[in-house]
């Protein structure tokens, strides 16, 4: 067990810090939350800046420790988030890198790294949430194209994306073809005819997501990654990636938020409330441990040579609840201020309500832990 960094890693960290200190003050003002073209431009410009400085590929770096350092330092320095580049860098990109042909990798990966192209994700459907494999969006072959009809939901950046990593059903569910078979992974150009994007407003009042309606959209067969009907396996590569390192920055952020909360509590007098103070102390232990769990999972993933496995479910289960508890504690510290949408905490608290639902509800995560990690019999 080793938590010290090598000289190389420390050098990487120092270089990154110096670079961030130089480049962050020069960034333009952040665009408004509902200015989607502005957000795309801001986020892709940041990715281009990273690329030019040699950090463009850091999410795909062979060294998970460097990824960890990158996420830690950028969060601490207040650098922009991955934003509109999220799907390209952390979902579609890794999938194409792992499962695509050399031609596909050459076509799609460099524009993602340079911040030239933005991807969105078309997985969830209104009737296939937790049960993703029950998706119904159909695709049938017509010459060199797939023709796709159906609808997708919870698609971020759909308004400004160039590509959509799309899961479609190419073989209807039957006795011979259970639902996990018969799914195919396609890269759909978002400017194709027949695509309608409708913003989806969340309880936080914002339109972070969209619904995407597909009416006989033509996608070239060459845009398929992996074999026809093998899309579930292809997708799983992406999903376990998502549950692995995707939260590193967020744990760092939570530890920062906890510090801010303690400062606010000391300032407004509620630090004298032992109930609250001890609650913050406990959360501090939780997030410290979650940070260690991230390092543990990353170290394990490197050892097994692959993407993080089921350890991600353990992490996500605890993290999502701990972060909600953090905002509940924040509400106690803020008192009536917790009802004020002009306090950033309030909007973040609302957003945090999705943490135990999105990317697999806590109930689904517990099933995964019970069956895949603990080896309990298939649930009923």
């Amino acid at each position: 067990m080793d938590l010290t960094y090598t000289e190389e890693e420390e050098a990487f960290r120092e270089g990154l810090r110096a670079w961030l200190a130089d480049v962050l003050p020069k960034l333009p003002a952040k665009p408004a939350p509902d200015d989607w073209p502005g957000r795309r431009a801001y986020d892709t410009a940041w990715q281009r800046t990273l690329y030019d400085a040699g950090y463009g590929e850091v999410h795909w770096d062979a060294s998970p420790t460097r990824r960890l350092i990158f996420l830690e330092e950028t969060e601490k320095a207040g650098a922009p988030y991955v934003g509109a580049n999220f799907v390209g860098l952390l979902h579609a990109g890794p999938t194409i890198a792992s499962e695509g042909t050399p031609e596909q990798r050459a076509r799609w990966l460099p524009p993602v790294l340079r911040g030239d192209e933005v991807w969105c994700q078309g997985f969830s459907e209104p009737d296939a949430g937790s049960d993703l494999a029950a998706l119904r969006t159909r695709a049938w072959r017509d010459g060199d194209d797939y023709v796709v009809s159906g609808s997708k939901i919870w698609t971020s950046h759909a308004e400004v994306a160039d590509w959509c990593e799309l899961l479609v059903r190419t073989t209807p569910v039957s006795e011979d073809a259970p639902k996990h078979r018969g799914i195919t992974w396609l890269a759909m150009p978002m400017d194709a005819a027949g695509i309608t994007v409708r913003p989806l407003r969340t309880l936080a009042g914002s339109a972070e997501f969209a619904e995407v309606f597909l009416d006989e959209v033509r996608v070239p067969v060459g845009n398929r990654v992996g074999d026809e009907n093998d899309g579930w396996r292809v997708t799983m590569v992406t999903l376990s990636f998502e549950r692995g390192t995707a939260f590193v920055g967020e744990v760092v952020a939570c530890r920062r938020l906890l510090g801010e909360l303690a400062r606010e509590a000391r300032a407004n007098g509620c630090w004298d409330d032992a109930v609250l103070r001890r609650r913050l102390g406990r959360l501090s232990a939780e997030f410290a441990a979650l940070w260690r769990l991230t390092q543990w999972n990353v170290s394990e993933a490197r050892r097994t040579g692959g993407v993080p496995g089921t350890g991600g479910s353990v992490f996500k289960l605890r993290y999502s609840h701990a972060r909600q508890e953090l905002y509940d504690a924040a509400a106690e510290v803020l008192g009536p201020g917790a009802l004020d949408l002009d306090r950033a905490w309030t909007l973040e608290r609302l957003s945090s309500l999705s943490y135990t639902i999105a990317a697999g509800t806590s109930q689904i995560q517990r099933n995964i832990v019970a069956e895949r990690v603990l080896g309990l019999p298939k649930g009923r």
């Binding site: 406990r282 501090s284 410290a288 441990a289 289960l317 995560q365 309990l376």
Partner: protein, 337 residues
């Protein structure tokens, strides 16, 4: 090229952990555990008979026959290097570090090893004979003294200590009435060498961490036991482990144990007192709540004396009162925010 951050057990550590588990399971497997419980039980019954036949006075209470510490086991552990794991090789020890120590204590917690192992371990190199298991050392800790009657050396001021009928059949306890709640292994060192103030702080922190490691071992064990029972026990036409309610109970147990694991291991690597306090907090929680959930998963069977679940719960309660209590850990962590 040097190695990157590798927060996983090294091959040596895996071998060491496995080796300690083999020693402990060989020397103190389930049969030995139950025999020790039966012996403690018989002593308690004899005490009760004595008490019934005599007036109730402190001397009588003090004379209670506590469970006997298995000196042979203790020496065998000493021979295996358990107590001298962190004593420098030059001083006759194994020369390993705190990370190896927490692995050893995790295994001790797993088998519910009786005896003041943490105090003896921390005395190794300071108290002659502790490292070899010849001399049993205990310490005053938060108003409690485990194994006072059996110990050869007591660290801390145990004056006026009164025997308590311990909820844990394998941990005899004395209370030091109204004394200052000294942190484990610290402050007043009697019948033993004095140590520097800095050493006291790290003693206290290490003691909490090693107790936390025991809690981790227990939490892991009760999680495994719940899973095993859920696989074996049939109700409503199949193993109960196929019910989501049981599955989710077990999943939450694993999450608690794994969070405690990384907290304990990381605190051992960094030797940061705050991380140790946090590790104790999470490990106490994991041990107590996993034992409760394990009992729930076992249903009525977990409520019997013959089940081991209650032994884990009772020991977890005792350990939660040693070293950092939850309140103290939370306050220290809050103060550092």
């Amino acid at each position: 090229m040097s190695a990157p951050v590798d927060f996983q057990l090294t091959d040596d550590q895996t071998v060491l952990k496995r080796g300690i588990r083999d020693v402990l399971e060989g020397r103190f497997g389930r049969d030995a555990l139950r025999a020790a419980v039966d012996a403690a039980d018989a002593a308690d019954a004899a005490d009760a008979a004595d008490a019934a036949g005599s007036v109730d006075n402190d001397a009588a209470v003090d004379a209670r026959r506590a469970p006997r510490l298995d000196r042979e086991l203790w020496r065998a552990l000493g021979d295996a290097g358990f107590f001298s794991l962190c004593v420098p090789e030059g001083a006759g020890g194994v020369g390993l570090g705190l990370p190896e120590a927490v692995l050893a204590f995790e295994e001790a917690g797993r088998v519910l090893l009786p005896g003041p192992a943490v105090a003896t371990f921390l005395a190794a190199g300071e108290v002659a004979g502790a490292a070899s298991g010849e001399v049993v050392v205990t310490a005053v800790d938060g108003g409690l003294v485990p194994w006072l009657a059996e110990a050869d050396v007591v660290r801390g001021d145990a004056a006026g200590a009164v025997a308590v009928r311990s909820v844990d059949p394998l941990t005899p306890l004395h209370r030091v009435p109204d004394g200052p709640q000294a942190p484990t292994g610290a402050a007043h060192v009697s019948r033993a060498t004095h140590a520097s103030r800095a050493s006291h702080v790290s003693h206290a922190s290490h003691a909490s961490l090693l107790v936390a490691a025991e809690q981790l071992g227990s939490a892991t064990r009760t999680c495994e036991a719940a899973v095993q029972y859920a696989q074996d026990r049939e109700q409503f036409g199949g193993p109960v482990g196929r019910f989501q309610a049981v599955q989710h109970l077990c999943a939450d147990m694993l999450v608690r144990a794994e969070l405690a694991r990384v907290a304990v291991y990381a605190a051992a690597v960094t030797q940061d007192p705050l991380e140790a306090a946090g590790a104790k907090l999470l490990a106490d929680d994991a041990a107590v709540r996993n034992a409760r959930d394990c009992l729930q998963a076992h249903g009525g069977m977990g409520f019997t004396w013959e089940s081991d679940v209650h032994l884990h719960l009772k020991r977890a309660w005792v350990r939660a009162g040693l070293g950092h209590t939850a309140a103290r850990a939370e306050e220290e962590l809050a103060a550092a925010l």
